[in-house]
């Protein structure tokens, strides 16, 4: 049975763990710079608390990196030198050079690097891609997506230095838009150039928002809205792919499959909630981890590769550079300016 170790036992790790606990793996243990986080995870999901990441690497076959984006590169380098395959959360890295070195280092070390671009595993997104691939839409023409939520409050805390410090998180494009950038590239192929307007360099982090225009090498065009400027507690996604033979659309604002309108305690109003419940195998993080586990055990290429993740970082950073400079950025020529 594959032995899995978690680096970084915070909010996203708990989402992964909910998937891992339903998969045929040995959850070996955790390393986190905050020992309490490891202890909490171990208490809930089982496994050991490790005092160093090297000690954890020695005991596992597959490392699942759920630390802050700024830590990804160091952890992946260390895992690669220990000869361990790695699942790495998005963004692959905050800096393009780090992302490039991560891909190269893992290739040289002969270890697999599985990037956790989970949107490809959301059933509605997978269904739209399958529909495009089936030919039902004809030749791909125009893609639109929206990913809009409120400013992240991991663990319920509003004060989140990682997210509000854009030198760490990269802001809304690198944290949120990157999902759709990867999805767009999966559907429509390589991106020729990107143009973006947004608030990243102008507004408070809680208002971070961008509107991104894409041109693909195929000639197709695209648009991505990514936002942290939504009112708290709201999250909305939208997807539209038009080709010369048809169109597919999906919007999370449309009626969900299960709604609950309950009288409140004193019958003066209503408590509303809504769900779109999924079958266990359709849970996106479960499906993603199951896919990576299967690829790791069979030694086959995953449907989202380390190079895909590198390109998603590159296009995201190019979009930020477009926002800063006011100019379109050609992806093949783009080199990140930052040290």
């Amino acid at each position: 049975m594959t032995r899995v170790g978690i680096i970084g036992a915070g909010a996203i790790a708990r989402v992964h763990l909910d998937g891992w606990r339903r998969l045929p793996v040995e959850l070996t243990g955790y390393y986190d710079i905050d020992r309490l986080a490891s202890e909490r995870a171990a208490a809930q999901f089982g496994g050991k608390v490790y005092e160093s990441r090297e000690a954890l690497f020695a005991d596992v076959d597959l490392v699942d990196v759920c630390a802050w984006g700024t830590e990804h590169a160091d952890i992946v380098f260390a895992a690669a030198s220990a000869g361990k395959a790695v699942i790495c959360e998005k963004p692959l890295a905050r800096r393009l050079k780090d992302a490039e070195r991560m891909v190269a280092t893992c290739e040289e070390a002969g270890v697999s690097l599985y990037p956790a671009h989970v949107v490809r595993f959301f059933p509605e997104y997978a269904q739209a891609k399958a529909t495009l691939d089936s030919g039902a839409l004809g030749k791909a023409g125009v893609l639109r997506t929206v990913r809009a939520g409120s400013f992240p409050r991991p663990g319920g805390e509003f004060h989140a230095p990682y997210y509000s410090d854009f030198t760490q998180s990269g802001g809304v494009i690198l944290d949120v838009g990157i999902h759709d950038i990867d999805y767009a590239r999966w559907c429509f192929g390589e991106v020729e150039r990107v143009f973006a307007r947004g608030t990243t360099f102008k507004e408070a982090p809680r208002n971070d928002h961008a509107l991104i225009v894409l041109r693909f090498e195929s000639g197709a065009i695209g648009h991505i809205q990514c936002s942290w400027a939504q009112p708290g507690g709201t999250f909305r996604t939208r997807l539209e792919i038009a080709g010369d033979g048809g169109i597919v659309e999906w919007d999370s604002l449309d009626t969900p499959s299960l709604m609950i309108h309950r009288r409140n305690a004193d019958d003066s109003g209503v408590e509303r909630s809504a769900y779109s419940p999924l079958a266990p195998d359709e849970q996106p993080y479960y499906a993603e981890l199951a896919h990576f586990l299967s690829c790791f055990e069979r030694g086959v290429e995953p449907q989202v590769t380390a190079r895909d993740a590198l390109m998603a970082v590159k296009i995201s950073l190019a979009a930020m550079e477009s926002m800063r400079s006011g100019l379109p950025i050609t992806i093949s020529e783009f080199q990140e300016d930052q040290p």
Binding site: F195, R197, N207, H209, A220, H223, T234, I247, G326
Partner: protein, 335 residues
């Protein structure tokens, strides 16, 4: 003020909006359609029969028919010709959008109407949709706080005919669908578009169309708001409606979503072999007709001026220039 009926002449049905305008005019008790002129006599006669009004094949006789105002719905490139024929012969002209296919023609239209003291209104019906009237009031009241951005779409089906003949239209999806939303944005905030970037697709969704059928435009407005607009004719024949106008406004106090296609019933009929949406609310063309007829009757300044039409056209033309040059284009255009 006289309570006699206002006599409106329909000058060309080349643009399909004319049909809806005529239907609306016939719902208004204080208006009569005094005559129809149309380039194609057979079509014109059939329309005249349908509306039970005279067809006048000779344009001079048409303009001599004692008209108070005309509604010009010819092809974009013919607007100047038809305005120059009608200006001074009638008191007021409603000219279909875009004002013209070129800035030169647009300016000439405004100048001729000024010289002849003819009231000129541009037909931007979307301003009269109750959803957008309400959105404007919400924005004025600060409902979303300080505005940061707007994400807009004006999708459509590929209209064919003169719309895809560059000599008559001046362009495809971008000139057809930029002006409505740009007019709304200018109206919302009284701010001009200062810069446009555009990625435009030629024959992207309709092979061998030979003209742009898709466009993704990015604007910077003078009030600091940025916006994008998708102008694509991306709705296939199988789609349940013609297209959409949607605006999502993002402010630091919240988000407003406006979609004028939501007031529909969904009809699935073996007749058409598909599911279709039929609107039950938001007859914006009736609002536009009432506004125009009120101006004709009272003689006040138009609510939507030739300059408004010209400004919207200029943004569409700047989008084409941006796509050609691969860079953002500043407004106003020069050269």
């Amino acid at each position: 003020m006289s309570d006699r009926r206002i006599r409106i002449g329909m000058m060309s049905f080349a643009h399909m909006h004319a049909y809806s305008y005529a239907v609306c005019l016939q719902q208004m008790p204080d208006v009569e359609i005094a005559g129809i002129w149309h380039e194609d006599a057979a079509q014109g006669e059939a329309l005249a029969r349908e509306f039970a009004v005279p067809f006048i094949s000779d344009v001079e006789r048409f303009l001599d028919a004692g008209l108070d105002g005309v509604i010009i719905c010819s092809a974009n490139a013919h607007h100047r010709r038809d305005v120059e024929r009608a200006a001074g012969r009638v008191r007021a002209i409603l000219c279909e959008k875009p004002i013209a296919a070129t800035l030169e023609d647009g300016r000439a239209i405004i100048e001729r109407c000024r010289q002849t003291d003819t009231r000129l209104q541009i037909a931007f019906p979307v301003r009269f949709h109750p959803v957008f009237e309400q959105l404007k009031r919400l924005l004025d009241s600060g409902a979303a706080g300080r505005i940061l951005a707007a994400e807009c779409t004006n999708h459509g089906s590929m209209p064919g005919g003169w719309f895809v003949d560059r000599a008559l239209s001046g362009g495809g999806a971008v000139i057809d669908h930029t002006v409505h939303v740009v007019d709304l944005l200018r109206w919302f905030w009284g701010a001009e578009v200062q810069e446009v970037y555009a990625e435009i697709g030629d024959s992207l969704l309709h092979p061998d169309l030979g003209i742009d059928d898709s466009g993704m435009l990015s604007f910077a407005l003078a009030n600091g708001v940025y916006a994008t607009l998708d102008t694509s004719w991306s709705r296939p024949a199988a789609y349940p409606t013609w297209g959409d106008v949607k605006i999502e406004v993002i402010g630091d106090g919240g988000v407003l979503y406006a979609d004028m296609s939501r007031q529909h019933i969904s009809v699935s009929s073996q007749q058409s072999g598909k599911t279709q949406w039929r609107d039950w609310g938001g007859n914006m063309d009736l609002g536009l007709m009432r506004d125009f007829v009120a101006m004709v009757r009272q003689g006040h300044e138009p609510s939507i001026t030739g300059e408004d039409g010209l400004a919207a056209l200029e943004v569409a033309l700047a989008a084409y220039r941006s796509a050609e040059r691969g860079e953002p284009v500043r407004l106003p255009l020069t050269g």
